[in-house]
Symmetry: C2
Subunit: 164 residues, 2 copies
């Protein structure tokens, strides 16, 4: 039988040192400002939040302009529930449609309509310009590479293993 004579001492908090704290806070603030800017820009110019735009982008990159709901959810890093609600809204706008999946009767396939593709084409330049102005153009090529490496390390630590 397992006997624990004394409760193990709860490990002391490893607080952040000054450099770590500064990095974390700067990252946090930059990200909040950045995401706010993108959300506002897309809401104004295309009538949708950034998350919805990303859904359309992913669909547009698929050869058939369609994807299984669950695949779309993991590739946009969103929950099934969030995606389901989002696709409902996108369907109301006529930008996406739901189709039954041929091989799995539980499944649904989200398909980007022509209207959705048109909206995306019209919204993309403004969004890319915003990403440039607020992020890319502020950094040197070396920093862009550093950001890629940093982000990849963090992402791979958090993403389920089967995510591409």
């Amino acid at each position: 039988m397992c006997r624990v004579a004394y409760p193990r001492r709860v490990s002391a908090t490893r607080w952040l040192n000054a450099a770590e704290q500064e990095a974390w806070r700067a990252y946090l603030e930059a990200t909040l400002l950045l995401f706010d800017a993108f959300d506002r820009q897309l809401q104004q110019d295309a009538g949708m939040p950034h998350g919805y735009y990303e859904i359309l982008v992913r669909l547009s990159e698929s050869p058939s302009r369609s994807m299984r709901m669950s695949q779309l959810a993991t590739s946009t890093r969103s929950s099934r529930s969030r995606l389901s609600h989002a696709v409902t809204r996108l369907e109301e706008k006529g930008w996406v449609e739901r189709l039954d999946c041929a091989t799995d009767r539980r499944g649904q396939v989200a398909h980007l309509t022509d209207a959705g593709y048109a909206v995306l084409e019209q919204a993309a330049p403004g969004h890319v310009e915003a990403v440039r102005i607020h992020l890319i153009d502020k950094l040197t090529p070396e920093q862009i590479e550093q950001l890629r490496e940093i982000s990849t390390a963090v992402r791979d630590g958090l993403a389920p293993a089967d995510c591409p």
Copy 2:
């Protein structure tokens, strides 16, 4: 009088090259996963979203444990409206209270209560640990410094000039 003979040609979209695209997407995905993780952790352990936690942190760092609403809003990078709603919730929980400002009758001061401070003390170790595990520990000291520089550049490009 100013005369424009021909409308100026709309500038062609400066699309992202492969390296820029990869960096941007990795950053986007890492950040979504990271913020989700922090939100979930704090919601579970402390019953509040990350944004609310940050409000308590800022207040706790003020000598008087209080701040003007507008100062608190800009320092947490949130809108006045968001902060107002948030403080309402935090007040309902008894973690913050609103006081009238002595020098400006329009003003309100948010003050961290003892209960709020206690909650913060109890929630902090778990949150710091999450920041370590998912972010700091995944990076080398050089990368942490790089992240600080990158984030500072981006933040300073977006923040109103009078923000410290």
